[in-house]
């Protein structure tokens, strides 16, 4: 069982002591605690939103009040008092016009985060920095947006969603809540009412976005829920790759995060959405940590459109997240690649939904769950084929690796097929690290740790290889850079 102990240690290195737990001291401006129509109005006013947006929020708030918090996921947490949360908090400083104005303290925050994407250089204005655009979300408000000019040249709109509501109201109106309706679920409705900021991306027809787009999420002010809203529209024949990564400071109190991400891909468009989620998971005794209740959904609206979700989930105390694809356009493709690592008392209930509506639509689901400590890791997914969808193809693989005798690994896949020509395959396995494999590696002269590293690495490889280069670095760091080195 030595191997298990080693693996346990590694997992603990990966997810254990949270390196990013610090608090940046920037005075923030807050809405009063609790949720009411006044707070919704306050947020809308703060954002200088047009009247239609306020009405939309108020409607969502009214809808949310009538809804019930879902309890079907395999997660348990103390009841959330929605009136004990600040719904709006913004850094006091006004929006910056140039990077020079970025608060040094904020830059220091990014430095501490160890952002691997060289955005620090970008933010610092270093010549020759790689072309990764950062729309830095620092506690609910976009503080700085880089590379806007270059993107503008390509015709790509990349800005905070509150700006977009003001500058491109027609575009936003056309697509907002078309993928995740206001009443979709409890947390989505809440987000509609109180979302503070987020990202809007529009890639025009035929444009291949010249760089990877990236947003860093960061929950900063104490007791502040983070309600991000992301909307990405890829017009006909366009391509965009979007990176999302997050860390949050260490807190004792649980923080609520209820984001909504909507993706729309029109004819022949492709969106690649990658996430590394490393929010504070709580301490070794399960105290604190982020509650992560996220609704992410993509609509493959056009013919031959494609959406690919890749996620590496290592953080949060409680995760409730199902990045999904509605495959409406004929020949559209949905992909979901996921690594979810849980340790200590973390609980993750995550997976995907692939809804096949159009003919010749295809989907692939690869999910790797690694549970350690006393954590609970659940894959929950749905593959649905409607009767009009001919020649649908799906392949699903869900593997779980158990690294302690006190953790849990669960698989809850749903398959619902109403068309005879569909070809659906689902495979799931659950096992611990194989003693045979360990023995084999060791007999070749590898140390215990290296052997485990090789196996864990191999276990996740199918997913990791789908991450963009820039992100792979951070993800590998999370999964243990020392292990990676020994494997070569």
């Amino acid at each position: 069982m030595a191997g298990t102990a080693e693996a346990q240690k590694q997992i603990s290195e990966i997810t254990g002591d949270y390196k990013y737990g610090f608090v940046t001291d920037i005075e923030s401006e807050r809405a009063p605690k609790g949720l009411s129509e006044e707070v919704v109005r306050f947020i809308s006013a703060k954002k200088n939103e047009p009247e239609w947006m306020l009405e939309w929020r108020l409607k969502a708030y009214a809808a949310w009040q009538k809804m019930e918090e879902p309890d079907w996921a395999r997660v348990s947490y103390p009841k959330i008092d929605y009136n004990d949360i600040y719904y709006y908090s913004a850094p006091k400083r006004k929006k910056l016009q140039s990077l020079d104005e970025v608060d040094p303290e904020l830059l220091a925050t990014y430095a501490k985060l160890g952002i691997p994407l060289e955005e620090q250089k970008v933010l610092a204005g270093v010549e020759g920095a790689p072309r990764v655009a950062v729309d830095a979300v620092f506690d609910s408000v976009s503080v700085a947006t880089t590379f806007r000019e270059e993107l503008k040249k390509a015709g790509v709109i990349f800005m905070s969603i509150s700006e977009a509501i003001r500058e491109y109201p027609d575009l936003v109106k056309k697509y907002l809540a078309t993928v995740v309706p206001v009443r979709d679920n409890y947390f989505a409705a809440l987000n509609c009412a109180v979302f503070s900021d987020g990202t809007f991306v529009y890639v025009p027809k035929g444009v291949r976005c010249p760089m990877e787009l990236s947003t860093y999420f960061r929950i900063n002010a104490e007791n502040t829920g983070q309600f991000e809203r992301t909307l990405i529209v890829a017009d006909e024949g366009s391509y965009v790759s979007y990176l999302e990564g997050c860390t949050a400071p260490m807190r004792d109190e649980n923080q609520l995060h209820a984001a909504v991400v909507e993706l729309v891909a029109l004819d022949d468009a492709e969106i690649k959405y990658s996430t590394v989620q490393n929010w504070y998971p709580g301490d070794k005794n399960g105290k604190g940590g982020i509650y992560n209740f996220v609704t992410k959904r993509a609509l493959c609206k056009g013919k031959n459109s494609k959406v690919s979700w890749t996620q590496v989930e290592t953080g949060s105390a409680v995760t409730w997240k199902y990045p999904s694809c509605v495959l409406q356009g004929e020949g559209s493709v949905g992909e979901f690649y996921s690594v979810a690592v849980t340790n200590n008392y973390q609980q993750a209930d995550t997976g995907t939904k692939m809804i096949h509506m159009g003919a010749n639509t295809r989907s692939t689901i690869i999910s790797k769950g690694i549970s350690a400590g006393k954590s609970q890791n659940t894959y929950r997914g749905l593959v649905k084929v409607l009767s009009g969808a001919d020649n649908v193809r799906n392949y699903t693989q869900c593997d779980s690796l158990l690294v302690s005798s006190e953790c849990g690994a669960h698989t809850v896949p749903y398959i619902e097929v109403r068309n005879p020509s569909a070809q659906i395959e689902h495979e799931a396995t659950t096992s611990k690290i194989s003693e045979d494999q360990l023995f084999y590696c060791r007999s070749r002269g590898l140390g215990e740790e290296e052997a485990v590293a090789m196996i864990v690495n191999g276990f996740c490889k199918e997913v990791m290889q789908h991450l963009p280069m820039e992100f792979a670095v951070e993800a590998q760091k999370l999964l243990g850079i020392s292990l990676e080195g020994s494997v070569g």
């Binding site: 097929v417 689902h426 495979e427």
Partner: protein, 426 residues
């Protein structure tokens, strides 16, 4: 829940008072829980694929004794004994106990608790409205106790017949107990006429150390029937439970197997085939619970859905914290023949131990066009080709049936079902 329903079933419970001495309190409690819980709805997660609206629309009366003696189907090969239940009542004159009584303790459920009042507690109460109602309304069933070391080689058939039972229900309950090292084989059959009846059957079994129970089910209810059945099985160390079911009848049919592996090296085999067409819905559910180390389980399910038919399979494997060295596998394959047909699957794993080997595979598709082409190119007509492919497809779920006559009878029914499909398409 609808007061009318509660009042209706209250009346039935009152009418049954005293029929199974010792169970009156149990009935009352089950009825109370039933009134609280009500019947499952489309929103009840475990029932999401079973449409049992029919149960909420009317009170199903207690089926009256049959007016005439129904025609009985032949037994499937040699049997050790045959127990016949007509409209939920034990029909002594139609049953044949053979020599079974010499080796085995047989009692009607009604007398079971007279000298064993404390055994009422062993009755499974159930935790949803359907099972609770079975408990509240149980009247008849067979209690079979196979003493330690006794091996009954031939199958024991339990035949359920429903006739002239419109808007009426039969709530049967069988109790099977196998002593250490005992062997028994049960073949449960369900047949009925075209009346809109409801069969609500429960079977509970206890398999002691090294004992082996085979449990075959042929569900061929009438076309308008609702069929809900549950088996609750506990298996001790080195015991074996081998189950196979074929579901072709009824309008709405559902079978659940709840198997708990309670001793090391206990083994469960649960296989099944469901064929649904013309508005039928067949839901098969299994829950295998690995409670101790080194137990094994294996499941093979095959379903076919044709015109407006719906087949569903939900297989859950739970591995407790202490159940190291568990080996659990599950294979589910579904065929969908038609755009109005539907196949659902939910193969679920719930694992709390680390040193385990658990896996499931599920596929949904149609018959391989290439294979049909190959067979037809050899001069076989398309209908026969399809029949052959379906026979091969379902064979994996039948091959562990230990009796040739029973397995052949099941295969013959699958062939007949396919033949009916071919006729329809002409």
């Amino acid at each position: 829940m609808d007061d009318q329903l509660i009042t209706g079933y209250e009346g039935q419970v009152a009418a049954l008072r005293g029929t199974v001495p010792g169970t009156d309190d149990l009935r009352a409690q089950a009825l109370k829980d039933f009134a609280d819980k009500g019947f499952p709805t489309a929103r009840t997660e475990d029932w999401r694929y079973s449409d049992v609206r029919g149960l909420r629309q009317q009170v199903f009366g207690l089926a009256a004794p049959a007016a005439t003696v129904p025609d009985l189907p032949e037994t499937l090969g040699d049997v050790a004994a045959r127990f016949v239940f007509v409209n939920g009542r034990y029909a002594e004159e139609l049953s044949d106990l053979g020599d079974l009584w010499q080796a085995v303790q047989i009692r009607p459920l009604a007398n079971h608790f007279m000298s064993n009042a404390d055994r009422v507690a062993e009755l499974v109460r159930g935790d949803d409205g359907v099972a609770l109602l079975n408990t509240a309304l149980l009247r008849d069933g067979i209690v079979l106790s196979i003493p330690a070391g006794v091996e009954i080689d031939d199958p024991i058939e339990i035949l359920h017949v429903m006739t002239g039972a419109d808007a009426a229900a039969a709530h049967v309950r069988h109790v099977i107990e196998l002593g250490e090292g005992a062997v028994a084989n049960i073949v449960e059959r369900f047949v009925g006429d075209d009346t809109a009846y409801w069969t609500n059957a429960m079977l509970q079994a206890r398999i002691a150390e090294s004992a082996k129970l085979t449990h075959i089910r042929l569900q061929e209810e009438g076309a308008a029937a609702i069929h809900t059945a549950k088996a609750f099985v506990n298996v001790d160390a080195e015991g074996r439970y081998v189950a196979a079911s074929l579901s072709t009848g009824g309008r709405v049919a559902r079978f659940e197997a709840h198997v708990r592996l309670l001793g090391e090296e206990a083994d469960a085999v649960i296989d099944g085939v469901a064929l649904a067409a013309t508005g039928q819905s067949h839901d098969m559910r299994t829950h295998v619970s690995h409670k101790v180390p080194a137990a094994t389980s294996s499941q093979v399910f095959r379903t076919i859905a044709d015109s407006r038919g719906k087949t569903s399979f939900a297989g859950k494997v739970t591995v407790d914290k202490d159940a190291q060295k568990t080996d659990a596998v599950q294979s589910f394959k579904a065929l969908v023949f038609d755009k109005t047909a539907e196949a659902n699957a939910k193969p679920e794993l719930e694992i709390f131990a680390d040193d385990v080997k658990c896996g499931h595979g599920a596929t949904v598709g149609e018959l391989d066009a290439k294979a049909i082409f190959y067979l037809t190119s050899r001069g076989i007509d398309p209908a026969t080709a399809r029949q052959m492919l379906v026979a091969a497809f379902t064979a994996a779920a039948l091959e562990r049936v230990p009796f040739d006559a029973v397995r052949d009878a099941m295969a013959a029914r699958i062939d007949a079902w396919m033949a009916a499909r071919a006729d329809k398409s002409v």
